[in-house]
């Protein structure tokens, strides 16, 4: 096993990985396991689970009810992440749908999967051929069959439970079963499925990175329903699990180490990255291969701010596509009181989802959607409403109980198309704690997804009628779903894309930019499993490159 060499605070490794989230961590875990010297540079701090759990429990009712999932996570003053209670304006948003792009992500060792819900969806095979099938969006340079083995490996690495019954899989094209059968449904999932499934909505179990039995060193999920902002018992997969696994195999992970500069040679190979430590002392990491896996905001930001003489528009940016095609599953919610108790909140935060509207010929005209039966306990919403009604005493308790039992919250995700005008740029005026430019993002949902919103509303009205809905409401403001995609988009033509099918930069033979940024078509499903699969595919590519 080779080890990272440190001389006077500078490092030399085989593989230098910037970012310790799920993608960087899985790559580190694999390559360290193969015996390579792996250095991981993480901008944010190392976290203690108990502190975050307690920060959340100590929050005010308003912040808990308002889902302030960013707030409980301590930040390094040198690595700001977005905050909304109050807003820190770290990312300045512009454009018609700016308010719908308020992303949450964590800059800390282990990354944003500290506060995800662990949904582990695959793209559909057709999602990778949107242009050739439906005449919209972009095709991937790789096929679903190319990606499928990596989906399997990602599911194994993250310990995913999903339905063994092919009729309940989305998609059913699989070469291996899920590592474990689906997390059993609660009453709400079953009650909901009975009503909506005869109408084609196809409520199915969500594949998820947790189990109801122990998995490796992970305990069984015991249904705290607290996945967001944090699993209090470590039953849910977190990137930190892969970080620690990589460290046991010899990888070196440096927290509070902010990369800000990238060196290239005459052949435009990356020769080194420079980072600031917690005292703003600069160090240099040299390596044979480099990975930048900092999510779809921090990766393009770093590539742009690391522009050098050889790459004046930014690293990997000869196509001018770095920072463009920003996507998220822009979403909205539908809430109502059903005519029967649903009792959301038993088990994990996300348990079942309607995938009937996920695909169809309509996708040539408007966006698909998926409708999650949001399984977060309704007690906060119920309490807010009951208090607003001016109730006190037993009447208040009774009303909270009624609303918690009958309340339904559906979370709908749309599929925006990649649009180069949806773009991240560097602010000319705002700077972070290190004096580095903060990101600006311009975002517009686009007519395709806007029309998909209208169609989804028709479906929701129908579902509401099936439950004789009371207080039926559909939000008109979009909300971000934190599935940030685009910015280093994948393609076969280096003139209009940043990376190839292995997430290798077209411009730099020894640079990989794996993760959500490479995803060329959003689909409507959570992006993490696809990011992880792309990360593992990149790790194989790096491994071959190191062997050559």
């Amino acid at each position: 096993m080779r080890e990272v060499d440190f001389i006077d605070g500078d490092a030399a490794a085989d593989v230098v990985i910037v970012g310790s989230g799920v993608v960087g961590a899985l790559i580190a875990d694999q390559l360290a396991g193969e015996g390579h010297a792996v250095l991981v540079l993480e901008a944010g701090p190392r976290l203690n689970r108990a502190d975050v759990v307690e920060n959340w429990r100590n929050f005010s009712f308003e912040r808990r009810a308002g889902n302030d999932f960013q707030g409980p996570y301590p930040q390094s003053p040198h690595a700001t992440a977005p905050l909304y209670w109050p807003a820190n304006d770290y990312i300045h948003l512009t454009g018609p749908d700016a308010k719908g792009f308020k992303q949450g992500y964590i800059r800390a060792v282990g990354g944003t999967t500290w506060h995800w819900a662990a949904s582990c969806w695959r793209h559909l095979p057709v999602d990778l051929k949107m242009q050739s099938t439906y005449g919209v969006g972009r095709d991937w340079p790789i096929s679903y069959d190319d990606l499928e083995p990596y989906y399997c490996r990602a599911e194994e690495a993250m310990g995913v439970s999903g339905p063994h019954d092919p009729a309940r899989q989305s998609p059913p094209e699989r070469s291996r079963p899920y590592p474990s059968d689906m997390v059993p449904w609660g009453h709400g999932d079953t009650a909901f499925a009975e009503v909506v499934n005869p109408h084609g909505y196809n409520l199915v179990p969500i594949p998820q990175g947790r189990m109801v039995k122990p998995w490796k060193d992970r305990p069984a999920c015991c249904g705290n329903n607290n996945c967001q902002p944090i699993c209090p018992i470590g039953a849910m997969y977190n990137g930190i699990h892969s970080v620690e696994s990589a460290e046991r195999k010899g990888a070196k992970v440096l927290a509070e180490s902010v990369v800000y500069k990238i060196d290239t040679d005459d052949n435009n190979r990356i020769t080194a990255v420079h980072w600031y430590d917690a005292d703003k002392v600069s160090h240099k990491a040299t390596g044979k291969t480099f990975v930048i896996a900092c999510n779809s905001v921090e990766t393009p930001r770093l590539l742009l701010l690391a522009a050098n003489a050889r790459n004046p528009r930014g690293i990997a940016n000869s196509s001018d596509q770095v920072g463009r095609n920003m996507m998220d599953h822009s979403g909205f919610h539908c809430t109502f009181l059903a005519d029967r108790p649903i009792w959301l909140g038993r088990g994990p935060a996300q348990s079942s989802c309607m995938v009937g509207p996920r695909d169809g010929a309509f996708r040539s005209e408007y966006s698909a959607n998926k409708i999650i039966l949001n399984n977060i306990s309704q007690i906060h919403n119920a309490t807010k409403k009951a208090l607003a009604m001016g109730l006190v005493g037993e009447a208040l308790d009774t009303e909270i109980r009624r609303r918690a039992a009958y309340g339904v919250d559906l979370s709908i995700s749309l599929e925006p198309l990649p649009n180069p005008a949806n773009r991240l740029t560097l602010s000319k005026t705002r700077r972070d704690g290190l004096g580095l430019p903060s990101p600006d993002i311009a975002y517009e949902l686009g007519d395709y997804a806007r029309k998909g919103y209208d169609k989804a509303c028709e479906q929701l009205e129908h579902i509401g009628k099936l439950f004789n809905a009371d207080e039926f409401h559909i939000t008109t403001d979009l909300n971000a779903n934190n599935h940030i995609m685009g910015a280093v988009i994948m393609g076969s033509d280096k003139r209009d894309s940043v990376v190839d099918g292995d997430c290798r930069a077209h411009d730099h033979a020894n640079l990989w930019l794996p993760g959500g940024g490479a995803i060329p078509s959003a689909s409507v499903v959570n992006s993490t499993l696809t990011m992880a699969a792309l990360g593992i595919k990149a790790a194989d590519s790096i491994s071959r490159s190191l062997a050559a």
């Binding site: 203690n48 689970r49 502190d51 307690e54 429990r57 992970r218 705290n224 018992i233 620690e244």
Partner: protein
């Protein structure tokens, strides 16, 4: 269980080359019933705990009794040996008499003595029928695997075996268990299982100066690395005299009795690999016998370990606060309460235990509370796998420092237990000890050897009258 067998495994590995030269024995004279009987006896004796190849090892899947189970220790990795009927790599060349001698007297086929890591002092009591069944099973029921388990190389004094002859002469009672006519057949069956195959006393009996089990205080408890095998005599305060026979049986079969105790560490392994697979009648028989073991009282004990505590209500006191005095409560809230409940009541269905009325929290000795926080619980019964994550160095939940574990442990003792404190030093000591008992037992064995060697040297010096010569020999 595993612990004692490890050292013998190291020794059996030395026997393998000799075994290869021996004549084959008749192997076709066993009935299917005998082989199956032997499989059951091997389960009751938990041979697999040490001798099965680890499932995770590449190419070793399903390699029953093929050895190679590694225990990482500061002395180097120790590997269990191949006891499949391979004549070249296992024990295929052992005659039944040689097999019986290894089991009951700790003597290898080549005549060299085993260390008591192999619980032969317990197995000495095995009936001829069971030895025969075991032999049938090992010769015909186990697939021969022609593979040498990785060699174990232990440093001095662990590589010296002959001094065990003196130890055996002092402490090995090579006699079968006799039926006690004062008790019924069920009790006698239970005693046989507990004293021989189950080898309860290996861990649960205190040991004397030369690490022999102290017969006068059988099953009164003994330390096991980071853990402590508790007093399981019938004493109502220090032991388990307050448990019903049904509860003892349930504990053996499942490792879990709500309001009493849960099996972790070596006992979890014993439940997983052995007791949970025994017949109901054998478990009931063991419970019947265990319930009658003469009471041994530790005068320091005031009330039964399981009887301490009640629901704690501290939630309001810690919200928004950062007082250092509440650090243990905050750790409890942040890392434990999500399963064990904010009041320590466990889950309503009892699957996750309460922390009040819990022997681990209430025991006089804090060893098991510290050990379970460090190492967690890992136990499988049937298709039910119980895993409480540990909070030691490699925790996937959150590694805790010695100070944090002391704070958390003190909070638990004071909220749900006898009210005393756990010091950072105690955690430091526990952390330095293996989660498996192997290290301590090796240290004990080493002490025995050293003592015997010193006795030998003294005798030799007296005879030869030369201290200098003796020193040279020691070096």
């Amino acid at each position: 269980m595993r612990a004692l067998a490890i050292l013998s495994a190291a020794l059996l590995s030395l026997a393998a080359p000799l075994a290869a030269q021996a004549q084959p024995t008749a192997q076709s004279r066993f009935t299917a019933a005998e082989i199956e009987r032997g499989r059951y006896v091997a389960t009751a004796g938990d041979c697999a705990a040490c001798h099965n190849a680890p499932a995770s090892a590449p190419g070793r899947e399903g390699a029953e009794m093929a050895g190679g189970y590694p225990i990482v220790s500061p002395l180097g990795s120790i590997y269990s040996t191949n006891i499949t009927p391979s004549r070249t790599h296992g024990i295929g060349a052992y005659s039944e008499a040689e097999f019986a001698r290894a089991l009951r007297q700790g003597i290898r086929r080549d005549g060299a003595p085993l260390y008591p890591a192999m619980p032969y002092t317990s197995y000495a009591g095995l009936s001829d029928t069971d030895v025969h069944a075991l032999y049938a099973y090992f010769m015909k029921g186990v697939r021969p695997v022609d593979r040498t388990a990785p060699a174990t190389s232990l440093p001095f004094p662990f590589n010296i075996r002959t001094s065990m002859r003196a130890w055996n002469a002092l402490f090995l009672k090579d006699e079968r268990v006799k039926v006690d006519p004062g008790h019924d057949a069920k009790w006698n069956r239970g005693r046989y299982l507990a004293e021989t195959l189950g080898h309860c006393s290996t861990c649960h009996s205190p040991r004397g100066f030369l690490m022999e089990e102290k017969t006068g205080s059988a099953l009164a408890g003994g330390p096991l690395g980071a853990w402590y095998a508790p007093n399981i005599t019938s004493d109502k305060i220090s032991g388990i005299g307050g448990w019903s026979q049904a509860e003892i049986a349930q504990y053996l079969a499942t490792g879990h009795v709500a309001g009493k105790a849960q099996a972790a560490g070596d006992m979890a392994e014993a439940v997983t690999h052995s007791f949970s697979k025994l017949t109901r009648s054998d478990i009931d028989a063991m419970a019947a016998y265990i319930a009658t073991v003469p009471a041994v009282r530790d005068e320091g004990d005031k009330q039964p370990a399981y009887s301490y505590g009640k629901s704690g209500t501290f939630e309001a006191a810690i919200r928004g606060g950062t007082q250092p005095a509440m650090a243990g409560a905050r750790l409890y809230s942040g890392l434990c309460a999500a399963c064990h409940g904010r009041d320590g009541d466990g889950s309503p269905d009892g699957a996750i235990p309460s922390l009040h009325h819990n022997s681990t929290v209430g025991a006089s000795r804090t060893n098991n509370l510290i050990a379970v926080i460090l190492h967690g619980v890992d136990r499988t019964v049937g298709d039910r796998h119980v895993l409480m994550p540990g909070f030691g160095e490699n925790s996937f939940v959150q590694p805790l420092s010695n100070l944090q574990i002391a704070e958390l442990g003190t909070f638990l003792r004071q909220t749900f237990g006898p009210g005393d404190a756990i010091s950072e030093k105690q955690v430091e000591i526990a952390r330095s000890q293996s989660s498996l008992s192997i290290l301590l037992l090796m240290a004990r064995t080493g002490m025995v050897l050293l003592a015997l060697i010193l006795i030998g040297i003294v005798a030799w010096r007296l005879r030869r009258g030369g201290l200098r010569h003796a020193k040279a020999t020691l070096a």
